[in-house]
Symmetry: none
Subunit: 201 residues, 4 copies
DNA sequence: CATGAATGAGTGTTCATTCAT
DNA sequence: TATGAATGAACACTCATTCAT
């Protein structure tokens, strides 16, 4: 049914404008009117494609997740173990403009997640996907002997995920302290440590 | 003579209620009315002690920072180097109810910081204090030989700060994944690595 | 297609209600809600047509000026010199219900003008137009010999303008003392004097 | 009873501050707090001397009237007829700082009078006193032959009163157009005309 | 008498949402 | 589909007033 496809297509087009508004002005300032203005259409037009404001904001988050996942699929294609893991971690950092926008979006939803179970669920689902993906890569790397096998893969993943969000946040808040280069240095050191075997001593 | 009220004291009393509202309902739902209700007084009463809502929210953040710093001063008293650093890192995690509230507060302001320079400045100032404190402890530990001296203290501090905020966030969002115990395990591993000398190989 | 509303037209319609409220209840009591009630619509509806309350009040004054000027243009069409001047002066007095409303409006803004430069500017501009118009008519009358040429036209205009506002005010405040007839008598005497030549002695 | 005298004395002292606030900031901005601040005392203190805000504002107007009347009594002492009348008219114009403040006060109450019968009554009473005083002086002047006897004294008074308020208003609104000198010139011309006999032709 | 803390109503304004066109 | 006019609730804030001290 082409009509539905168009409908879905238009939703995704509109969401791009939503991302820009949220990233630029913050979630609080992302009023229906501001979004409508950014889409160069009217406020009421949005209501044809989205049930209500909550629907807009939730879909904006989900679509961002989907796009990020697709990009990471492309980037990781052909890579294995430690190399794939490193690529995955780096892709989650705000190292270029595109990913900075994604990070601004994500940070905007964190506080919202704390008080809204639905949003938390959306983010939690995506976090789970990323977590599982990392665990798989870590186990693979450990099996190959490229990574320290002492620590549980799940725990390593948890630390990497924390590091990703912490660095992302600080990079946005204090860009003068955490340039892309500085972020990569920290990740590099992390991987050096992950590779070092304790039995080597 | 009128009812004597220590202005500064009353401000701090009122802010305790503000913390509760923000932590429970989020910054968005923290209306003047909601705050007034939590303080068991009227909306107008707040205006005796605070210029406007922004003044309330800014002071709430600053006071939280001050209280945390005071607590950390007490906890670190007598400790040195690695031990002090470990205590400092752990104190910044939401390991009990009190610190969970503090973390909820902090997370609530992150998004606000992205779009409001004044808030970002408040948080940046506090982040600087913590960063400098960590650097001093790391250098001390390195001099004592308790910690790997290869890596710049500043970079180590940056990673620890990122880890703290990342873990804090995830502990709030996904408590089933990051129990206090799990958080401590990750920190312990981190410190094991920080202590391990690369020259040992 | 949405309900088509000529924006400017609707603004003028709404302002008619604003005039009534101001004239009846005063500028102080002219709250957005009171105005909305008079327009038989909601408070928020006004915000589609006016930026804020100040925009409403300023436009109300300006539109009143425009309407008055248009009426005076019609009335003075074909008249010259003294006759035109007399017609102009009389039109500025609250001699019927319509002009009483206009005068109430004007008086309401006087006090506002004293403390707000923008309002004073609006009124000053209009006062200038009226002043210049009078001066032109007076000069014409003086050239024709219908009016005493001794006194500067500008000074005569200044006196007439003062007389207009003073009489208007008193007619509103003390209608029992200054009926339309009484106002006209005073104006008539004024014109007799203006016509009398000092050289006649 | 000395206590009452003190009470009354304090009321008058406080009102001087009220005048300043009204003249400087306008009636709208004359909040209890602003007035209290100007009196260097507290808001509640005013409530010991005045029933409510309306009482303050009404008394401020009445006291101003009384002071003006007292000053005019002093000025007119010993003067008669036309000379007294001229002095009276001039005293009612904002020719110096003191009288400019009085005029600002008066203008502030005009709009208030239009919608509040009590205020209108206060102003009406004072206007009556002034009107009667003028009529008496005019009749005296006419009897002495110093003033044109054709026109009813009451009508002449009415025109002078209108001229006074019109000039006063315009002098405040457009001081560049109506300097004290310009105001006096207009009054002088008015008196020249009042003295000129129609039978002289 | 004087204070200033507290109240609660009322203000302008913004907003998501609805709906006739 | 799309528009934008309209609604009404919610917001931060200001104010006159009251009252315990």
């Amino acid at each position: 049914m082409p009509k539905i496809v168009d409908h879905e297509e238009r939703r995704e087009e509109l969401i791009a404008a939503v991302w820009r508004v949220i990233a630029r002005d913050g979630l609080d300032a992302s009023t229906i009117r501001a979004i409508a203005k950014e889409t160069d259409s009217s406020a009421g037009a949005l209501s044809h494609y989205f049930k209500d404001k909550d629907d807009i904001l939730t879909f904006a988050l989900k679509l961002s997740h989907r796009r990020i996942r697709e990009r990471q699929n492309r980037k990781l294609d052909g890579l294995k173990g430690v190399e794939a893991l490193r690529e995955l971690v780096l892709d989650n950092l705000p190292l270029d403009e595109e990913r900075e926008l994604e990070t601004r979006l994500e940070v905007g939803y964190w506080a919202r997640s704390l008080t809204r179970a639905e949003v938390r669920k959306v983010q939690g689902t995506e976090a789970d996907v990323l977590h599982k993906r990392m665990v798989a890569l870590i186990i693979e790397a450990q099996r190959r002997g490229d990574m320290d096998g002492e620590t549980a893969a799940s725990t390593i993943a948890e630390r990497l995920l924390a590091l990703i969000d912490g660095l992302s946040l600080h990079a946005l808040l204090y860009p003068e302290r955490l340039s892309p280069q500085a972020q990569m240095t920290i990740i590099d050191q992390e991987f050096v440590k992950l590779g070092r075997r304790s039995t080597a001593a």
